[in-house]
Every structure is written in C-alpha cells, then in structure tokens.
Symmetry: C2
Subunit: 132 residues, 2 copies
C-alpha cells in the first residue's frame, strides 16, 4: 500500500481513508491530492473516515493540513463519516479540527460543498449532471 | 482493518478496495454490501479497484460473486479504475470477469449504471439531484 486512491466525482474529489496514515503515506496523499485539485480544477475535497476507528493527533493534523492546502488552492474540504467514538476522542484530545468542515455522510458532504461553492457555472453543469 | 466501508451516493453504492482481500474480509464485504443494497434499495454497485496492483484468482472470484449476488438483488455491478497491468494479468490468468461490467473511472461507471438501470422514477429524481 503505497498510496491512497483519489476518486473524481464531478467537480469534487473523494478520498476514503481505510488504513493507518503513517508519515510517508500522509505526505504522498497530500501531494497527490493537491496535484489532482490543480489538474482537475476541483472545487471540493471529500475525505471519508468512516473506516477510521482510532484517531490520534497526527491524523488530526493531516486533516487540518489538507484543509489548509486545499483552501489555498481554492477548494473546500469536508470530512465525512466520522464515527461517534472518533469525535469523542478528538475532543478529549483537545483537537477541534478547526478549519475543517464535517458532514455525517458523503451525500450530506456533497450537499454542503455545493452550498459553499455556490452556483455552478453554466459550462460545468453538464459535467455535474453526468455523475448522477 | 475488519471491514471495507461502503459509501452511499444517490441510488448507488461505492466501495473502494485498498487492501488485500483475504477470506474473512471478502466475506464481510459481501455480507455488508448485500445488506446495504437491501436497506438502501440500491440499484447499482460501483467497485473501485484503482489501488489494486496485484490481482489473483481469489479477487476475480470475489468480484464475480458480488456481481452475481447483486444481480439477484436487482442491482448492477460495475468495476472501475482497473490498472492496465491488472487487466493484462487477469486475461493471462484466464479470468475474463464474465458477468462483471467495467468502466474506466467512477464517473464513467456511474454513467454506465444510469444507462443500464434506465430512467429514474420521478420520486427518486430529488435524491439523485442531491448528490451532485
């Protein structure tokens, strides 16, 4: 496992984190994600962490980093699918994921992104229609 | 890692396979997926294998099983993101993934599913609109 796949869904990118993030993998993910945002002109990034049951400060920092990097690239980041236990642990660790948007699941995350990004320009409508 | 997360996207389910499938994990995935198809009344299943670089006959059989099970549950299965090397290996192994639809990426897979499933009933339109 040398990299986490990034899926393109319309104007958004979707990443599902299923394995423990170690230094090198996290760095590769950050690089790949920013390259994809730039290449695909993506306006939103969805990070699904529904498979993550244990979270530590490193994971919290990586999520924050990705959100900050994306914002500079003019893309919003939404973390979706957080397990209740993970939310509890994060707050107990003192990590509030400042600057990171969250939503309950992928669909709600997409809805949130759509609201944040605002109306889609006409020439992109077709692209968005294609993914339903 | 005890289970692979299944994401709901409109009327479809999306699974990203990032780790080696061993017996128990594959069995859990089959069970979870069929339970989700039933619960969500999903008409399509997308399996992304872009992170899979090594494929064997076991993986081929699991994909075939999932497609057959889904079909009985009235859902179509599309395998997306296959790496060229994986396609070459599959054919060299004599596995043609009969009964499994394939598409180049998630967007094309969704397009294929939409064509196969046919027009979406009126009462489901809103649901599909929500995910863009």
């Amino acid at each position: 496992m040398d990299r986490i796949p990034i899926l393109r869904m319309g104007g958004f990118l979707l990443v599902t984190i299923q394995v423990d993030l170690y230094d090198r993998l996290a760095l590769t993910l950050e690089n790949d994600l920013m390259a994809m945002v730039s290449k695909m002109e993506a306006r939103g990034v969805l990070i699904d962490i529904s498979a993550v049951s244990i979270v530590d400060s490193f994971m919290g920092r990586i999520l924050g980093n990705i959100a900050s990097m994306s914002r500079i690239m003019d893309a919003e980041t939404v973390v979706v699918g957080m397990q209740p236990a993970v939310a509890i642990t994060l707050v107990e660790l003192g990590l509030t994921l400042a600057g990171v948007h969250t939503a309950l699941n992928v669909e709600m995350g997409m809805e949130l992104l759509r609201k944040k990004i605002g109306p889609i320009p006409d020439n992109e409508e077709d692209l968005y229609d294609d993914i339903i």
